[in-house]
């Protein structure tokens, strides 16, 4: 599994209220939510983001609410991967569970700039900054999480279990 795209760069503590503000939580479809993705931190994001693009941020990305609407809005906006120094734990879980690829890598998070072109190899955890001609090594996922992602998310994986 790989991703490649242009980077939208943000700073520390990007919270779920700016990713998808509560005033849009009266709907639950990913497509609808995607229209307002990042609106309170970057009003232009939805006009500029193309399928495959990548979000890079520093510490504690996705802090705040448990709203799965946040990773869902990002995924449905076409973002192929989020790279950060660290993620807030509920966001991390939700992203794995819905199959939005995320990677923690301090060096990449600090070095990559807005507009850089970046590619990611999820199996090896290698992030390549094509613009700067540099590579960074992220922790690859533990097997347990790889299995969830490979199944297409926790629901797909559980389906098998429910069928027994």
């Amino acid at each position: 599994m790989n991703a490649k795209g242009m980077v939208f760069k943000y700073g520390d503590n990007v919270d779920t209220d700016v990713i998808i503000p509560a005033r849009y939580l009266n709907v639950s479809s990913g497509e609808e939510l995607a229209k307002y993705c990042m609106i309170d931190i970057d009003a232009d994001f939805v006009n500029k983001a193309k399928t495959g693009d990548i979000i890079v941020a520093t510490k504690n990305f996705g802090c705040g609410s448990s709203r799965e609407h946040a990773p869902l809005a990002i995924k449905c906006a076409g973002i192929s991967c989020v790279i950060a120094t660290t993620f807030a734990r509920i966001f991390y879980r939700n992203a794995i569970n819905i199959g939005l690829p995320i990677l923690e890598c301090d060096e990449a998070a600090n070095d990559i700039e807005n507009g850089d072109e970046v590619s990611v190899d999820f199996d090896s955890g290698i992030i390549t900054n094509i613009t700067k001609d540099k590579t960074y090594q992220a922790q690859p996922f533990p097997e347990f999480m790889k299995a969830i992602m490979a199944a297409g998310g926790l629901v797909e994986q559980t389906k098998e279990r429910v069928k027994g």
């Binding site: 503590n13 919270d15 209220d17 700016v18 503000p21 509560a22 005033r23 939580l25 009266n26 709907v27 639950s28 309170d40 931190i41 510490k59 504690n60 802090c63 705040g64 609410s65 448990s66 709203r67 799965e68 609407h69 990773p71 869902l72 660290t86 807030a88 734990r89 509920i90 879980r93 939700n94 569970n97 819905i98 533990p142 347990f144 998310g153 926790l154 629901v155 559980t158 389906k159 279990r161 429910v162 069928k163």
Partner: protein, 419 residues
């Protein structure tokens, strides 16, 4: 190697003799909870799993509290989908308008939560129930769906920070000041992925409502959960509210902690979080002049009876400032009734505040108190992110009920001792 209190609960629920930090486990759940926003997403995912019924009709809890009473047509549709699901599935603990209150005040009050349980809730402040010595953590809608279908969830066993609480707090200081102080000290990611375990002789100085407030905001330090020991006060609360069996877990003497932090209650001052992060704290003496437009007293953090009492005691016989809209929201119907019986409602209304039915309402910028550009609000809620309570150019200052009530009267952030 010894285990922390959280690790001991998780080991038991995973059917293991012991666990270590970092271990991935599958644990059995005692409660799976959701609200009107997160359940609306979860029920779709639940249907996708192919499950035809929830794992246990008693252990699934659905509370319609965020956008209720329905704030608009879309919210009404969401609530309707939750309601239909709850009745179709025969969910016993379903709380609709009339019975509902803010989930994290409601579940302990209704005796649904007891010590020793493992609880997941599709709401980040599910960590509140750690005040009762339970392992309780916020998760998203997919986890809720899988939890409802299977009665289990996956967890990475957390390491812990030990907070050794000592001393006796001053009378104008409450649980809110304790937790804001801690978040200011360790930062909004200071406990990321970890448990916050509170111990020490100072715990006895904290009321159960103080402890709920403290555990509630563990998430604002990035923690997986916050947890308090089960002491006399906790057992008295449990027996007064619940009939179900509980289990008392204690950390091992040789449990390993990442670090130990001493919190001396006697040194704490009223503490305020300035915009736009909960860790941006100042003590009351450092605030300066901050003129405000609105005060909100309520939420899962500070909408309990202790909080109502503190606010009523300050507002009684006084008037809120002419330009400050003051909104008081009890967290549950029971607290609402108590406020009527104890005369607090009259105190609030005579002071020029409004007293509303239980709802999350303005806390998340939902309804009933949204801010315009440039407006400032002192709020007893838990988050002051950009746009949390309305316009992106509005500001939220987090504070205790005492500071909020004093500020309503003064028209600016004020020290409760000076009112």
């Amino acid at each position: 190697m010894g285990m922390t209190m959280t690790q001991k609960i998780l080991a038991k629920k995973a059917g293991l003799d012991s666990v270590v930090a970092g271990q991935l486990i599958q644990a059995k759940l005692d409660i799976v909870m959701g609200n009107d926003i997160t359940t609306a997403v979860a029920l779709k995912e639940f249907q996708k799993t192919g499950a035809s019924e929830v794992f246990d009709k008693e252990k699934v809890v659905i509370v319609l509290d965020h956008f209720t009473p329905n704030k608009d047509i879309k919210a009404a549709e969401q609530c309707k989908s939750c309601r239909t699901f709850a009745y179709d599935m025969g969910v016993k603990n379903f709380f609709d308008v009339g019975k509902a209150g803010i989930e994290h005040a409601l579940l302990p009050e209704q005796g649904i939560v007891v010590p020793g349980q493992a609880i997941i809730g599709a709401d980040s402040h599910t960590c509140t129930y750690g005040a009762l010595g339970a392992f309780s953590t916020g998760i998203g809608s997919t986890d809720m769906a899988i939890g409802m279908a299977t009665g289990e969830a996956w967890f990475k066993v957390p390491s812990a920070i030990k907070f050794n609480v000592i001393g006796k707090k001053q009378s104008h200081v409450s649980g809110k000041d304790v937790i804001l102080h801690i978040i200011g000290m360790i930062g909004v990611d200071g406990a990321l992925y970890r448990s916050m375990e509170f111990t020490g002789e100072g715990i006895a100085e904290l009321t159960m409502d103080d402890r709920f407030t403290i555990a509630n905001m563990a998430i604002e330090a990035g923690a997986k959960n916050g947890i308090f020991p089960v002491d006399e006060a906790c057992l008295a609360y449990t027996k007064a509210h619940a009939t179900k069996a509980y289990e008392v877990f204690e950390a091992d003497d040789d449990a390993e902690y990442d670090e130990e932090i001493i919190i001396d209650l006697s040194t704490l001052e009223p503490t305020i979080s300035f915009p736009h992060l909960p860790d941006n704290t100042r003590t009351i003496g450092e605030v300066g002049e901050v003129i405000i437009d609105q005060v909100v007293i309520g939420s899962c953090t500070n909408g309990r009876l202790d909080d109502m009492k503190i606010a009523a005691d300050i507002l009684r016989g006084k008037q809120v400032a002419e330009k400050v809209r003051t909104i008081v929201i009890p967290a549950t119907q029971e607290i609402y009734l108590d406020c009527i019986k104890l005369g607090y409602v009259e105190d609030f209304i005579n002071a020029g505040a409004i007293f509303s039915m239980p709802t999350c309402g303005p806390c998340l910028g939902g309804h009933m108190g949204i801010l315009a550009a440039g407006e400032r609000c002192v709020s007893t809620t838990n988050r002051n992110f950009v746009g949390r309570m309305g316009h992106v150019e509005s500001e939220v200052y987090l504070a205790s009920p005492a500071v909020a009530a004093a500020s309503a009267i003064a028209g600016k952030i004020a020290d409760p001792r000076n009112i």
